[in-house]
């Protein structure tokens, strides 16, 4: 055997057995920060699970999740895809200027169902003043950053359709125009599917008149950058390595107002709308209102008697810090987790204003608005 052959043979053997052995000796990981998911652990062996085939299925997943140097391989895969001009992963497009954009599909029947659920609400809660704000997602505003021929349905068209369907039965808060106008600023995160504080600010400013208050100006707040290493949900979804992280900015009022925030389920309370600890976790967007809760009550030091319920998805988290400056009480309800009777809630707490706040992608697909039909 020539030397070359021996070398090739050696490399080959190292590769085959080396990786096999490393797999055996490497430590199991619990959580993949980059992908934001829990990794499978060694399944428990039982006779039943072996016969039914569950054990072997689980074992396969376990092996691929715990593969040695997983992070490196996944990264390599993404690099290869980029070099070979792959423009999409898991429904997320690698857009221009380091934008990750999630495509918006043409809405199906769920959109109509959700419209009907809100119409049901309007009919049943007739003494309530109701507002609706549906925010476009980043792909609706920055669609020129999409790669060539990447399919994404027009959000403007859907929003116009929405407004028509409600036909003035609800106070419709249009924010598409203003967001489009201010797109030169960083109104959406590049690596996350949410809008930023400044994006939410423009929506607040645009909604103010119809909601009956005078908005604060931008320089009534001091803007602070609280993070410059935020990698959001789109980044996790697309495994898009080698992209610059986002910054998170926060608008702190210069005027004097205090808040009392109560997270009902865990009986936690706090005097700030921000939960700073979350900046050290994976999902840094949870700095706003401490992330996802089924019910959050915010009492401000204002005494104007205005009480509002916000029925929402997570776009509300960045928005509510502005809104809280104009209401005595805000009760934030997330229908994904809150399945009790909403009409009784409005009644008991003597609330007569309701804001529905969703992003368009969620509004088109979410299956939990049906809980309005109590």
């Amino acid at each position: 055997m020539s030397v070359v052959n021996k070398v090739i043979c050696g490399i080959f053997l190292c590769f085959i057995f080396g990786i096999g052995v490393s797999n055996l000796v490497s430590k199991n990981m619990n959580f993949s920060e980059i992908e934001n998911r829990v990794l499978s652990q060694m399944p428990q062996f039982t006779f039943d699970s072996f016969i039914s085939g569950e054990f072997t299925d689980d074992f396969e997943v376990y092996l691929s999740d715990q593969f040695v140097w997983k992070k490196f391989w996944v990264g390599l895969n993404t690099d290869v895809e980029r070099v070979t001009l792959k423009k999409e992963n898991n429904g997320v497009f690698f857009g221009k200027e380091d934008y990750l954009l999630e495509g918006y599909d043409k809405p199906g029947e769920q959109l109509q169902k959700n419209i009907n659920n809100i119409l049901y609400f309007l009919n049943k809660a007739e003494n309530i003043t109701s507002y609706l704000m549906v925010a476009p997602t980043s792909v609706g505003i920055y669609n020129e950053n999409l790669p060539l021929y990447a399919p994404s349905f027009s959000q403007k068209e859907t929003l116009t359709y929405l407004e028509d369907q409600f036909n003035e039965s609800i106070i419709y808060l249009d924010v598409y125009g203003v967001l489009l106008r201010e797109k030169e600023e960083q109104i959406y995160f590049r690596t996350d599917h949410h809008w930023t504080s400044i994006g939410a600010y423009y929506a607040y400013e645009a909604a103010a008149k119809k909601m009956g208050f005078r908005p604060y100006r931008k320089d009534d707040f001091s803007v602070e950058t609280v993070s410059n290493d935020f990698y959001g949900t789109l980044y996790s979804k697309a495994s898009a390595y080698r992209i610059e992280p986002d910054e998170i900015e926060i608008f702190l009022p210069k005027f004097n107002l205090t808040y009392e925030v109560e997270y009902e389920v865990n009986d936690q309370s706090s005097n700030t709308l921000y939960e700073w600890d979350n900046l050290n976790k994976k999902d840094q967007y949870a700095v706003f209102l401490n992330g996802n809760h089924s019910l959050v009550k915010i009492k401000s030091s204002l005494h104007n008697g205005r009480k509002l319920v916000v029925i929402k998805d997570s776009y509300a988290h960045a928005f509510i810090p502005f809104l809280a400056n104009h209401f005595e009480e805000i009760h934030v309800i997330d229908l994904r987790y809150y399945h009790l009777n909403i009409y009784e809630y409005l009644d008991t707490n003597e609330i007569d204003e309701v804001l529905f706040l969703y992003n368009l992608a969620n509004f088109s697909q979410d299956k939990n608005m049906i809980w309005l039909k109590q």
């Binding site: 829990v38 992330g291 009790l340 809980w371």
Partner: protein
Amino acid sequence: MKRILSLLVFIAILSLLVGCTEQSIDEKEKAPKVSLEEIATQIKEQIAEDMKANGAGEDVLVDGNLQSYIETDLKESEEDDPAVAILLEKMQLNKEEFNSGIVIAAMMNVNSDEIILLEASDEAHVDKLKESLERELEAQTHTWEQYLPDQYEKVKKNIITTKGNYLLYVTYEHPEKIKEVFNQNFE
């Protein structure tokens, strides 16, 4: 030597074939020993036990009510309990297709736990009911996939299983425990 070898090859092929066949269809079980309500009670006891092991107080299960969970009897009238109508519509279930149905789910906490028990009114409806459960799994996936990886993990481990006319849907930290409780009633 040759014979032994061919025997080995034969066994290897046989085991391959066994491995590749669909799961056996000897699921034609008879009815369970107890009612669906009773199975639900056993399941709640299992959950209560797990909650206590995790440090919950002694009063997690009082008079059949599991703390911070809500139980819906799908056979009840829609007027008495609006949640019935919601769940039927959400899963596109038809009341005639099952004799009894129970849903146990978190009431208002950020928790993806959900257990559904159904007894088909006729063998012919089992597949249709199973579709409804798969629809629910799709909805749960959509609700939980974006954030909260620990809750989504439970949804990913979801089990849908059938015994004769009986169906079980489990999204739970230890779904195999619930399945075990369910299966025990059919032995």
